[in-house]
Structure formats: C-alpha cells, structure tokens
Assembly symmetry: C2
Homo-oligomer: 288 residues x 2
C-alpha cells in the first residue's frame, strides 16, 4: 500500500517537514494541509510543504488515504472528534505525538468504526518553530518509534512503517506504555532539566556562559504549549524520572568532599565512558 | 610587551591548541612544552603544537617570558612548587584553570618573589581529550575571563590580555571569587547535570535516545580527573548551584498537575524565551 493522498493536520515544523519530504520522495503524491490559522496554511503552500490548504480538519481528511496528526498532543482529542466521521473508511491514520499511551488508546477508540490507527513517534525535530524552518531532510537517519497494540491492523502498520522508512527513518517498535516510560528518561527529563537549568540562572552568570551552556540547554528552546501537553500527559513517568535524577544529584553531593576524590572521579569517568559508547553505537546504527 | 618564548605546562587539548594558535599568529615565537609523559610530548612536537619538548617543569620555564599552566587544576600546587625557583624574574605566569579563587591565591603566594601571576580562564575546550584534537582556531570568538586582584601587576595583566586577544578571544575581567560563583552556575552545574542525566539512564532507554539527548549530555564527555579537580576546588559554590537547581525541579514537580497547565506553559515559555535572547546576545557579541 503506497499512500497517494496524505493529509497533514498541523503544518508547523514537523508537519511541514513531512510534507516536504513526502513530496520529494514519493511520486505523484498530493499533500493536503490543515492548520487553524490561514496565515500558517498560506506559508505552508508558499514553502512547498503542502499542495492544498484546508481550514477544517474534516475537509482535509475526507479524500486522504493517510492522515497524520501533527498538532500539539493536547489538541488531539478535539482533532479526533472532528475527523471521526470524516475519514475515509479503511484509510490509515497516524500521528507524531511525543507521548503514546493515552493517545493510542483514545485514537483507537475514536476511529474504531472507520480508519486504522497506528501510533508513531518520529524522533526528529528542532528547537525552532513554524513551517518556515521545515526541511525535507529532517527525518534522514533518525529513529521512528511505532507503537502497535493488539488492535493494530497489520497491513496499516506495515504501510505506516514503510512511509517513515521512505522518509529516511529507522523503525523501532515499542509498546505504548513502555514508550512513555523510556521517553520520560531520554527526552522529557532532558527537556525539563534544560529548562530548569535556565530558570535557576542569574543574569550576571549568563554573561559568562559559553558554548557548553548553549548546547546543554538547546532543547529547552521548544514550544511551551507543546511541551506542557507532553509533560502533563506523561507526568507520572516524568515525576519518576525526576526522582531518579534527584537521587543521582544527592549521590554527587555526597562525593563533593576532599576525601571522596577517587569515587567522584570514577563516577564522572563512568558517565563520560557510557556517553562515548552510546555515541559510537548511534554512529554504527546510522552507518548500517 | 610581546611574548617570544612561551612555556606551556601540560600539552593536552587546551595547551596544544594554545601552542598551535600562538605559532600561527605570533611572529618568531618559540613554544616550549612540558608534559609528564614522553609520548605526549613527542605527539605535541609531531602535531606542531610545540617547538621544544622538556620533561621537567623547571627546565621548561627557565627561559620563558610567558608560562601558561595547562595541567588539570589539581596538579597546580605541585607544578607551582616545581617552577617557583626556576621562572625568570619579571616574567609572566598565567593559567587556564576553570576555577580561580584558590589558584590565584596560591599562585600569587608561590610566585611572589619571582614572576608576575595573572589568572586566566579561556572559555574554550572540547569533550575530546589529548593534543591530537588540538586546533589553532579553538579560541576564535570565545570569551577569556581574566581575574586580576590588588596584587596583579598592571603591565603583566595588559600583556596577558593582549596575548589572549591575539588568539582571537574577547576579554572579560572578573574578581576570582565571583568567577567561581558564576562559573558554578553556567559551567560546573551543567557538567554535573549532564553527568547525572547519563548516570540515571537505563540501557533500554538509551536505545531510543535521539540527537537532543546527545546534545544535552555532550559536555559530560570531558576528562574525569580534570572535572573532579574543578568540582572539589569549587564544591561550596557547586553545592549552592545544585540546591538552586533542585528548587526549580521541586517547582516543576508542583506544576505537573492537570490544573497547573497554564503556569507550566508559562514556566517553559519563559525559559525558552530567556535562552533565545541569550543566543541573540551571544551572536551580537561575536559579530561586534
């Protein structure tokens, strides 16, 4: 199954990049875009991210064989309500949400009578916002997590995974609940920490900050509403991740004593080595 | 005063880069390098970071008009003892240490009868280690903090600042104690957090980590012994910085409730905006 009419609901950086990538990589594809502001839709057409603009979700999905939810996660309930009766029977719906458990459950319920839903989380993005920063190569060599359940239609799953692969991504299948637990550690907590690290700064210190500080806080530049939705939807896991981080900080504080130099050095060195090995593994995966 | 014979004690990434930069930017300069391993010294000569290799600190500084301490901070006491009676009277000594209060006090005391000491902290570096990663452009457009005290010789201060400027750096003068307090916030805490963020991870989560995680933890890749020295020397300030970060994490946990969405969004947005403005300011400084 190759998708020929793709509807993108929400044409920001991610939705816009999907449109650009699909148009450059799939023959004869038509991209229909929905956004709640006319100005955004006009820009999406102008930048070549979509072919047709539609200012209501139901109209945007009516003819689509693939619909991709690209709005902030918090808008998914109302978007699903809008398209529930409008999606083509037998068509496929997926999403790009950074949390999966509640989204997959809700979408499976809302679309049960019409379309096939497959949860997706393409691990690509930017701290930039808006379709003006969209790029067709955003997904190249990145991971896309798919989160099938017992209810997932196998053909729809294969088709969605092939779609992301066409865009250059490597697929990893993970159960929705496990996805949320692991992403709290490797994505939501880092974002929370980067944000807290900015929040605790004094202006006089920022004057002296260097490249390391900007790198460490880069991901905190994301859209506030989008991350609010993610944090609230995944709050129990995020709280557990914060608690484990706080435990490491307590451990570190215990090592900040002259007599603990050897143990402090070992802790720092072990973490540095672990990151180095991760980088090597990621590079091998990209080359493979 | 232009330095013509420069002694670099410790020819790793930073010391090696200083040698390369000085050789490419100062006419007729001679760089003498000291390292406690012969192999490192041979590599430093081979990579063009130094002209002459010397395997004892006293010999390396005897003829120098500028000596730069580039070993890990924890070795400074023994290095200062070694060179105390060997530095040329009236010559200048500086350093690249990431902490300043205790170093400046010690160096001023040890060198009082011979050389002029000026504390420096060039804010450049890399998570890579060793002279093989040294680069002559490492200092271009970066900040160099100098930390003069009432005891600092004004001519020596000017000469050291001109030296760093020749290497491409912008000078900011800060009192040593204030330097350590501010750097705990913008440099030592980010390093500690990046390290703790790696320490708390489960292997299964790391499989799913993306570019954001690698960026956020990049600085944790540094040398364990070097950072142990920095953390221990600046432990009181670092503990205070950790405490302020923990306060922000408690605040965040309080916002992870469905009814707190608006406040959570504001917190995230304020931090994102603050970082954006910092980036703009840094870009303006670089252009200036």
């Amino acid at each position: 199954m190759t998708f020929q009419r793709i509807s993108i609901l929400g044409v920001g950086l991610l939705g816009g990049s999907i449109g650009m990538a699909a148009k450059s990589l799939i023959n004869n594809v038509t991209i229909i875009g929905y956004g709640h502001r006319r100005q955004t839709l006009d820009k999406a057409v102008q930048f070549g991210a979509i072919d047709l603009a539609c200012d209501d979700p139901a109209g945007a999905v009516a003819e689509a064989d693939l619909t991709i939810l690209c709005t902030p996660v918090g808008l998914f309930p109302q978007i699903l309500d809008s398209i529930q009766g409008a999606v083509r029977p037998g068509s496929v719906v997926t999403d790009v949400g950074s949390t999966k458990k509640s989204i997959v459950r809700l979408a499976e319920k809302k679309l049960a009578q019409t379309a096939h839903f497959v949860g997706s989380h393409p691990m690509a993005g930017s701290e930039k916002r808006g379709v003006e920063f969209a790029r067709p190569d955003l997904f190249q060599k990145a991971i896309c997590i798919t989160t099938p359940t017992r209810k997932t239609n196998p053909d729809a799953l294969t088709a969605v995974e092939q779609f992301w692969q066409t865009l250059g991504m490597r697929i990893v299948r993970v159960d929705p609940a496990r996805h949320d637990r692991l992403l709290a550690d490797v994505s939501h907590l880092p974002h929370a920490l980067a944000s807290a690290l900015i929040a605790m700064q004094r202006e006089e210190g920022l004057e002296l900050s260097g490249k390391g500080f900007l790198d460490t806080t880069r991901i905190a530049g994301g859209d506030g509403n989008l991350w609010r939705d993610i944090f609230l939807d995944n709050r129990d896991n995020l709280k557990a991740s914060i608690a484990r981080l706080e435990k490491q900080l307590r451990r570190l504080k215990g090592l900040l004593e002259p007599g603990k130099g050897a143990a402090l050095s070992r802790w720092l060195e072990a973490n540095a080595t672990r990151r180095e090995e991760l980088v090597k593994r990621k590079l091998r995966e990209i080359d493979a």
